[in-house]
């Protein structure tokens, strides 16, 4: 039974999604340019705004992916 607890916050491969976010937004050479612009907005701006949305989606994915593990560990608790 106590094995359940340890699995809850151990490493999950899903956390790699967080690393992708970090690299994508903390490395300005990727996005410090004007073209391709979107609706007149330079790439620099829309790229970073887009990553706000992608980051939220990644976090939601990690949430559901790691949350399911708990449910799998403790079946029947909802009944």
């Amino acid at each position: 039974m106590n094995g359940n607890r340890a699995r809850r916050t151990g490493w999950s491969w899903w956390y790699l999604l967080f690393m992708i976010q970090f690299v994508a937004v903390l490395w300005p050479p990727f996005y410090n340019r004007v073209e391709p612009s979107l609706g007149g907005m330079p790439f620099f701006y829309w790229y970073q705004l887009l990553w706000v949305i992608i980051g939220a989606i990644f976090t939601a994915i990690v949430y559901f992916a790691t949350d399911k593990r708990t449910e799998a560990v403790g079946p029947g608790l909802n009944s």
């Binding site: 976010q21 970090f22 300005p28 620099f44 708990t70």
Partner: protein, 537 residues
């Protein structure tokens, strides 16, 4: 500035009257015994996912942010957009670290980060370092909220002579102090809902209407001087603006959740799950902040700084007047009233939470630890209420009598100072490997070196670090916290070998950082479960 905008003023005052009523009424919301510190200072730890979203959003995305980020874009251009990567990288940190802190704080009834450090490392002096750093770093932050409020009050055309001119600010502050005193964290939680809705309306109206009026984004960016549109490409042998941009974003992100008010907002959540869910939902605010940053460019394109009617405002408030001037220029008076009220109320919410957080810290980690070791619940809650008044009064005096520039400098130093609590609080959530006195030494090294670097850089946030002829200009806070961790890592085995250290047992157990198994399903279905909720163990 001499003409009072009556329509806007009436709507502004009406909205303030409404939130004043709401702030007092909040005492009865999810009613608890406000003579207990966790009820007054953490709202009984009863806020579910949605309320937490509003509360933490209102807490972190402050009025000053909404004024200052566009002002920085207006004045300095692309570098201001570091606020966007900054608010992107905070959420993985929130997701990974803070549920653990929430569980352990819930289990042991910790109310402040210093409570946790005290329990984890058993060293009251380390806890004191965390406490004092938290309070000192928060004070100028509260003062800056008042600056945000001052700017919108000025924008309404209210200007008096001498200290009479500060009367509206004093009134707003008395209101704030009174409802915080009577309702505790429930007041900013309920007001945050109103404020956030108003801010969203304002932000989306501004980013839709103004670009249409100005002829589209292409025209707006064409009007912005070329060197402001992008970061300057680094020259040879330096990471240049790229290094500054990335380190500002990362360092600010690491510092953010160490501020006591962030911790207060997070600990008031009803479950660790509410925090994880919010890590995915809070980016809604980041998107809005990014869009608002663009207002700085709109202000350049609309040339509001050159218009005679705003000259006095720019003279008084500098670039911080860019957003108010822009809103006044493009929107009818009634909408200006709503927008300014959104910013003004947006100042009160974080100011309330910050003063509560400071009060909790003083009460728990200074008064209880060093002055009166066995207070009754009632005494403890009463002490916190009084301290919250003192803290706010201090910030008010600061704002009225000292130049704004001092608050900005101190807030910059505050960021450098607060990040030095990272090893004890954030790394402490994962490990007790560190020697407690090594953590104190690391903290002291970070504070001293950080302060010296900031002064040497003339209070610029970045410091031009040079290693072997190669330049790494970057955020001082990030560099000094690395130094802090290095000192703690090197000294830990040394001090352990010398048997220096409190030797006190860690009062937390590894399982305390995890959701109690039986409570998991329970908390998912009932986020608003009543406190104290102890899982069956």
């Amino acid at each position: 500035m001499h003409d009072v905008n009556w329509t806007a003023l009436i709507i502004f005052v009406a909205l303030f009257a409404f939130i004043t009523w709401l702030g007092f009424a909040a005492a009865h919301w999810r009613k608890g015994d406000l003579d207990q510190l966790h009820e007054w200072g953490l709202g009984g730890r009863r806020f579910g996912t949605v309320i937490t979203w509003f509360l933490v959003g209102g807490d972190l995305y402050t009025a000053y942010t909404f004024i200052a980020v566009p002002a920085l874009a207006f004045g300095a251009g692309a570098i201001a957009f570091f606020a966007v990567p900054y608010t992107i990288v905070i959420y993985p940190i929130l997701f990974l670290v803070f549920p653990r802190l929430w569980y352990v704080c819930h289990k042991h009834q910790y109310i402040t980060p210093a409570d946790f450090v005290r329990g984890r490392f058993g060293n009251r002096w380390l806890a004191l370092a965390v406490t004092v750093t938290g309070i000192v770093a928060t004070m100028p932050y509260i003062a800056l909220q008042l600056v945000g409020l001052q700017v919108v009050i000025g924008g309404l055309g209210i200007a008096g002579n001498g200290y009479l001119g500060d009367l509206p600010l004093v009134i707003a502050f008395v209101i704030l102090a009174a409802f915080t005193y009577s309702s505790g964290l429930r007041a900013p939680a309920s007001i945050a809902i109103v404020k956030d809705i108003l801010i969203y309306i304002t932000a989306f109206a501004a980013v839709i209407v103004i670009p249409i009026e100005l002829g589209g984004f292409a025209k707006i960016f064409a009007a912005v001087p070329e060197q402001k549109v992008l970061l300057a490409s680094p020259g040879p042998n330096t990471t240049g603006a790229y290094g500054s941009y990335a380190t500002l974003a990362l360092g600010s992100a690491l510092a953010l959740f160490l501020y006591p008010h962030s911790m207060t907002g997070i600990l008031s959540a009803s479950s660790g799950h509410a925090i994880r869910r919010n890590a995915a939902m809070l980016p809604g605010y980041s998107l809005m902040l990014g869009l608002l940053a663009l207002l700085g460019f709109f202000a350049i394109a609309a040339s509001v700084a050159g218009l005679p009617e705003y000259a006095a405002g720019f003279k008084q408030f500098g670039n911080n007047f860019a957003v108010p001037a822009l809103l006044l220029h493009f929107f009818p008076s009634w909408f200006v009233g709503i927008a300014f009220a959104a910013i003004g109320i947006g100042a009160l919410v974080p100011a309330a939470i910050m003063s509560i957080a400071s009060a909790n810290l003083y009460t728990r980690n200074i008064h209880r630890e060093f002055i009166n070791r066995n207070p009754t619940d009632r005494q403890e809650a009463q002490m916190a209420k009084w301290v919250s008044l003192i803290v706010k009064f201090g910030a008010l005096v600061f704002t009225i009598f000292l130049p704004t520039q001092y608050a900005i400098w101190l807030q910059l130093l505050g960021g450098i100072w607060i990040i030095q609590t990272l090893p004890a609080v954030m790394l402490g959530a994962y490990t007790r490997w560190f020697n407690d006195w090594a953590l104190v030494a690391g903290w002291a090294a970070g504070i001293v070196v950080g302060t010296v670097m900031a002064v040497a850089a003339n209070f610029a946030p970045t410091y031009p670090v040079t290693i072997a002829g190669f330049g790494f200009p970057g955020y001082t806070a990030l560099y000094t916290v690395i130094l802090n961790v290095l000192v703690a890592v090197v000294l830990t085995p040394a001090l352990n070998a010398l048997s220096v250290g409190s030797g006190a047992a860690d009062e937390t157990a590894p399982a305390d950082y995890e959701p109690p198994i039986r409570a998991v399903a329970h908390q998912v279905t009932q986020p608003a479960a009543p406190y104290p909720q102890r899982a069956a163990e």
